[in-house]
């Protein structure tokens, strides 16, 4: 099932990435040649290409797995690769950032961003199509960067040494899909909402102070930037959006909840 595993060094860590086809295996070694190492490493990420086998739809989904968890699901091979880069970049050392680095899943709709619980990622296999139908794009990132001053979600290009010319051969590995679902482009997306899982699971608008309280635990760099900057930044964000609590028991409820959360923002279209 696996054509090979390569070891890439990022931030001093040796990370194994295995691919399901020889072409993808070679592509990744070229793409990330600057990070390639000879030492073997257990596969941490798995790139599984969906190839037409004549029994299903023409466009099969490709998956990026982190351990056993699917973190990217797409028909678009470029998006899959960019998702891998984004995940690998999490291990790169980072200078002091003015951003809040937040645990969560980001969705972009009509150019505006909704922060959703990270648990949504584990549901993407069954809800991403529904989300796409409602106009949402999923940001393929292991965590989110929020600029509290600008009130935006910041999608960054991966801080890796990448041979971008390698993308020229990507179409030769798998043809472009008839229905592309490209990656969310790097940039700053105004925040329109923040959906939070609360202990009581009660859906609906949250008092902003409660939202700041629950969100504080999601700020991964709160110890680096300090408690006061964490609270100030979260308060700035929550003043811009209407935070909502979400809970769901099936995919329909989840999609409806996220749609409502995105619509709760003051400027949501």
């Amino acid at each position: 099932m696996w054509a090979g595993t390569s070891t890439f060094e990022v931030g001093g860590l040796h990370l194994g990435v295995r691919s399901s086809t020889p072409q993808m295996h070679q592509f990744l070694r070229r793409l990330l040649a600057a990070h390639l190492r000879d030492e073997p490493a257990d596969p941490y990420y798995s790139v599984l290409l969906g190839e037409p086998d004549g029994s299903g739809p023409a466009d099969r989904f490709h998956f990026l797995y982190e351990a056993a968890n699917a973190v990217v699901r797409t028909r678009d091979l470029e998006r899959l690769v960019r998702g891998l880069l984004s995940h690998l970049a999490r291990f790169a050392p980072e200078e002091d950032t003015p951003h809040l680095v937040v645990e969560g899943t980001a969705l972009v709709k009509q150019g505006r961003a909704l922060v959703a619980p990270s648990a949504v990622t584990s549901w993407l296999k069954v809800v991403e199509r529904r989300l796409n139908i409602r106009g949402f794009q999923v940001v393929d990132s292991p965590w989110l960067r929020l600029d509290p001053v600008a009130g935006t979600l910041v999608v960054q290009a991966p801080a890796l040494d990448v041979d971008w010319s390698a993308f020229d051969v990507l179409d030769g590995i798998v043809a472009r899909p008839a229905r592309p679902d490209p990656a969310v482009a790097p940039g700053a997306y105004p925040l329109t909402g923040w959906a939070l899982l609360t202990p009581d699971g009660q859906p609906g608008p949250l008092p902003r102070a409660q939202a700041v309280l629950w969100a504080t635990m999601l700020v991964l760099n709160r110890h680096q930037i300090g408690g006061q900057r964490t609270l100030d930044g979260l308060a700035d964000v929550m003043r811009l959006v209407q935070p909502v609590g979400v809970g769901w028991s099936d995919e329909r409820e989840l999609v409806d909840a996220l749609d409502l959360a995105a619509a709760a923002g003051p400027d949501a279209g």
Binding site: G16, D42, A209, Q210, V212, L213, M217, H223, G227
Partner: protein
């Protein structure tokens, strides 16, 4: 009384219930605060605990500057809001005890010249004892882990 960075050798061994309106309370420097929609969120970076104070609690919290006794604070709040002093005093003292019990403030007995008391360790406060704040979480959140682990599809 000029420094609030620890109780020092003269610290009182104080139970929250012993605090009365003669005490002076001061917010701990490790506790970050933000006010939003009239409520205050408190984040104690030392313990990781989080709390929300309702609007009245937020006002009291903002007044705990290590200068005024709770009695003086009661007078000011009663005047400002036209409230019954006895009720304000009871509410202020109850909240002060709660904040002290949660490890968020220093307490100084008998005003200037007394000794600062260390707040009680947070773990010694049971949820039943802590009633003044709306929400309290003893957040002990794991940092993200970057360890390699084997993929297992």
């Amino acid at each position: 009384m000029s420094t609030l960075d620890g109780a020092g050798p003269d610290a009182l061994d104080l139970a929250p219930g012993e605090i009365d309106d003669s005490f002076v309370l001061a917010r701990l420097p490790s506790v970050a605060t933000v006010e939003i929609d009239g409520e205050s969120v408190l984040f104690d970076g030392a313990s990781g605990s989080l709390h929300v104070l309702d609007p009245v609690g937020a006002i009291v919290w903002s007044c705990l500057d290590g200068a005024a006794t709770l009695d003086e604070l009661t007078t000011d709040l009663s005047d400002a809001f036209g409230a019954e002093p006895a009720q304000v005093r009871a509410d202020v003292v109850e909240l002060a005890r709660d904040l002290f019990g949660r490890g968020l403030v220093h307490a100084l007995a008998g005003g200037a010249g007394g000794a600062w008391a260390e707040p009680a360790p947070l773990s010694s406060v049971s949820p039943d004892e802590a009633t003044g704040a709306d929400v309290a979480i003893d957040a002990d959140v794991e940092e993200p882990r970057f360890l390699e682990r084997p993929a297992s599809l």
